[in-house]
Amino acid sequence: MLLAGGRGSRLHSLTKSLAKPAVPFGGKYRIIDFPLSNCTNSGIHTVGVLTQYQPLLLNSYIGIGSAWDLDRKDGGVTVLPPYAESSEVKWYSGTASAIFQNLNYLDQYNPEYVLILSGDHIYKMNYELMLQHHEEKGADVTISVIEVPWDETNRFGIMNTDSELRITEFEEKPDNAKNNLASMGIYIFNWSVLREYLIRDDLNPESSHDFGKDIIPLLLEKKMKLFAYPFKGYWKDVGTIQSLWEANMDLLDKDCDLNLFDQSWRIYSVNPNQPPQYICPEGTVSESLVNEGCKIEGAVSRTVVFQGVTVKKGAVVKETVIMPEAVIGLNCVIEKAIVSPGVYVPDGTIIRPDADSNEITLVSEETIGELQSN
């Protein structure tokens, strides 16, 4: 069950008309390609995608799931939006309520285990190994955790465990953490346990219907067997402009743990079917990722360039992410920015952070409008 209803409000105008999981990433992908490809590569062929916020683009992007080989006779991908019942329309008020309202979907498959994922993170993970860990430990619930820097523990849900990795305590964004194992928002539940606790949670009027805030604490209180599954590897929440930019820049690092070129763990996406990129006689490209359909006439370095982008003559683009179909006009200078999809940056525009700042600029229609009115 992939939770893809997030709004991603800290991504500002990037998520004005699309949900966070649909935000473009890595020159070719959308964030949701990562969990969906992980499912396919882990041998999971039945995936429910829960959508709520701005679902149009996400729905049409997922389609029948053929890009991820999830167009199946049995199972496959099913988009699960909120729906109306005879008495009322029920919006998904929290992560748990989203799953609760789709108990029918789960009941029809009556699985042994349910994997709950969020559509907000960039990582490659074999969920099969997590399930093995779950079975070996005889767990009711397994939560995937990753070591985070100690000074950032106050941003995460922290799991305190015993020496057997059994979770003894859960602290949401603690000021003085006892541990640096953060929840990745990836859960494996025994289906019977999940079903029971979702129904209990629904009956509790005090609950905010959230896995982290309500379900996990309740399970701990009832002494259920919760285990942590330590994950090693690249994992990033790309919830802010800064972190989205950083994660894109990480891809340019040769030694990055997130290897998009690994044939054995392909990240699948809907392919745009555009002609090869054309680097003009005047163009230069170094330390960059460039996708199909681009035309590069300017100088591009340390930049991630999505499909269908044009960089015109004399333009100098550094340490930037240029999203699909954007155009960088003649003689522009762009540094440390994210250029929104389809934006036309007029000739001669200069966008770079002040000397003493490292702030990443989000270049959108509005930014361009403001620049022009000044």
Partner: protein
């Protein structure tokens, strides 16, 4: 939607001059332009003209062609009604010759009988162009033509338009008329039919030799040709791969080149077409070359005017140069240079 037209692609042609590239594949399946196969042009043109039923008549070495086309999904031809049809020669002893061999059609006459379209386009599989067939059909009907041959500067482009009923007559009476193929029918000046010649003004080249293949590939680097062949509203469709974007390393220097996805470029590339998943090592210079998919060129090589077929490996320090008017060809899957056993 173009409910009136059938698309028929003759993929039987063998060009001896293209042998180095067509040992393991039909001419239709020769890689082109970094990510395409030659057949993608005619197939996409048919689909972009709204044609929903396309029949492919292959003969030799069609494994790679079938692998490429699959169910036709990438061209939106995986349909319940109509869609993509595949009619390999039923007997390899048949000596089908020319484009639109009537014998080959006769073996599959059911296809023509069952289809509901009134007209058929019969085309070769190796012309590089981006053409809308709707104006051709309108012209054919308005001019009262029976058989229309598409030409470029007075030379045949190996593309014919004919009413399906007449095509079926031609198939059935081939032994009496002595017409072996569509060209025979379109060129018989004594025939009772109204023969027409439609002059196509756009870019169109039939790829029938290595030199010609090389030159047409290099034409892609001309912005006006690129623009005409790959307009956004009439895309050339192909089998999609899930390659990541191409990665340019610190020392990469790429000028006037087309590069497909999935590559890693550390060296210098000039005036070249680089296929999907190609690796070009540090210190290597690739100039006026066509490098096909998944080929690896190691460090400190020099390649000039070379066509390197798929899956080849050029070992470090190898120098291969040829004159621009007679490009060298490195065959598929071979290893060149130090330690090679070619």
């Amino acid at each position: 939607m173009n409910k009136r037209l059938l698309g028929v692609i003759d993929a039987t042609t063998v060009h001896e001059d293209l042998e180095d590239l067509s040992l393991h594949r039909s001419v239709a399946a020769i890689p082109f332009g970094g990510r395409y196969r030659l057949i993608d042009f005619i197939l996409s043109n048919l689909v972009n003209s709204g044609i929903e039923s396309v029949a492919i008549f292959p003969k030799y070495q069609y494994r790679s062609l079938m692998d490429h086309l699959g169910s036709g999904r990438n061209w939106d031809l995986n349909r319940k009604r109509d869609g993509l049809f595949f009619f390999p020669a039923s007997n390899t002893g048949n000596h089908y010759t020319g484009i639109g061999t009537l014998d080959h059609f006769a073996d599959n006459i059911d296809y023509f009988e069952r289809s509901t379209q009134d007209y058929a386009i019969i085309a070769n599989s190796y012309t590089v162009f981006n053409m809308d067939f709707q104006p051709l059909l309108d012209w054919h009907i308005q001019s009262g033509c029976d058989i229309t041959e598409v030409q470029k500067n007075g030379k045949s482009l190996g593309i014919y338009l004919v009413e399906k009923a007449l095509l079926m007559d031609l198939i059935k009476t081939r032994n009496e008329t002595g017409y072996f193929n569509m060209r025979d029918a379109a060129r018989d000046t004594s025939s009772q039919f109204q023969l027409c010649y439609y002059d196509y003004k756009g870019y169109a080249v039939m790829v029938d030799s290595i030199v010609n293949y090389f030159n047409v590939s290099m034409d892609l680097l001309k912005p006006e040709v690129w623009k005409e062949l790959f307009p956004k509203d009439r895309p050339i469709l192909t089998k999609v791969k899930d390659e990541p974007p191409t990665r340019y390393e610190v020392d990469a220097s790429v000028k006037n080149s087309m590069v497909a996805n999935g590559g890693v470029i550390e060296g210098t590339v000039e005036n070249s077409i680089i296929g999907r998943g190609v690796k070009i090592g540090k210190g290597t210079v690739v100039r006026n070359c066509i490098i096909m998919q998944k080929t690896q060129i190691k460090e400190n090589c020099l390649l000039e005017s070379v066509i390197v077929d798929k899956d080849a490996r050029i070992e470090a320090g190898t120098v291969i140069t040829a004159p621009a008017d007679a490009p060298a060809v490195i065959r598929k899957g071979t290893v060149q240079g130090v330690g090679s056993k070619s």
